[in-house]
Symmetry: C2
Subunit: 208 residues, 2 copies
Amino acid sequence: MTNGKISMTVIRRLPKYHRYLKDLLDKGINRISSKELSEIIGFTASQIRQDLNNFGGFGQQGYGYNVEDLFNEIGLILGLSRPYKTVIIGAGNLGQALANYDFEVHGFQLVGMYDVDENLIGRKIKGIEIKPSNRLVEDCVIHNVDIAYLCTNRESAQNVANALTKCGVRAIWNFTPVDLKISDESVIVEDVHLIDSLLTISYFLKDR
Amino acid sequence: MTNGKISMTVIRRLPKYHRYLKDLLDKGINRISSKELSEIIGFTASQIRQDLNNFGGFGQQGYGYNVEDLFNEIGLILGLSRPYKTVIIGAGNLGQALANYDFEVHGFQLVGMYDVDENLIGRKIKGIEIKPSNRLVEDCVIHNVDIAYLCTNRESAQNVANALTKCGVRAIWNFTPVDLKISDESVIVEDVHLIDSLLTISYFLKDR
DNA sequence: TAGATTGTTAATCGATTAACAATC
DNA sequence: TAGATTGTTAATCGATTAACAATC
């Protein structure tokens, strides 16, 4: 199906399809045309058909798409068919917030939390004990961790990232305001630069 | 300078320019060419010159750009010349994390935090007392709040958003997994859909 | 079958890159 | 002045939209 040359713009729309199809499913709707989906999701019908046809012909002429089938297909495309092991580095408010999100339902299983703060070490969040950061590398190797949620301060970010790439972690979800330099190109870095997002707001507010 | 038809792709790059120029400034570098900036920021030199010339001719032929001037100009473009008043709705871990970020240095002043949880109401975060959510509308009007950080659960998100638009809030920074429906088109909504970001990671991990 | 809607090709639009004259 | 680098136009590339034949 997928041929590896799917564009980033398409990939970034996939989670939105997934969310809206879940909503439709929960509402008991089992059939939808690209035109109807267009009206609720806000992409054009043409774009929806183009996007989906990157991965296969999931629809049926004269009928549309089966909601459940399409939801499952997109789940497969997004890699939700199997679990991922995750760790959180930096167990402050943000790290704790992420620990409490229900990412497990999508297969993201939290196996460790780490911090350097003695006041946090030993505490349990969602059944996971916060451990000292010097245990991180060892644990990642033992547990075969897939994804690290990086919630440290800006100063530690690059060093922790370097350590993570050396112990087999395959992706870093980066919440620090640093653009990480990663030598291993197979490691995926997904940035959540909150300040960039906030400055976008102020751009639009400035002359109102 | 700005003519209102700047594309979203350009606008979303501005905060990154701002960050990198700050770094250069802190390093004491006061002059940079588009080529040099290109090498550290990762955009092409051509793109950098195109981007900047949307807003004015900030450079000088044969010389390049003055780092401090350019940093200040981009700050102005991003609307950082004046303060914004902000509130946080939902004072759980995420809300508290946002309260503790140093957004004040960019002029985002937190003036209120709200929650429905009796265990949280009355607590102080960074000198701000968490108040019951039924005080939100009144306070927004009194304080002339510009931006609301929406950190409620999915169920409350749309209702709170409706209330916010009615009391003059001009932007919503949306951390809920809901695509808000806002009738007032002048209200800016900036989504931080964490789950979408995480699913993008799993897309790339799936067949590795 | 007739109607509906897909899958897919072609046309358009917008964004990025390349090139170079202007000029500091 | 000569060299460097911008600002800006033109060329290319990629993404979106439109159109329609295929087909359920």
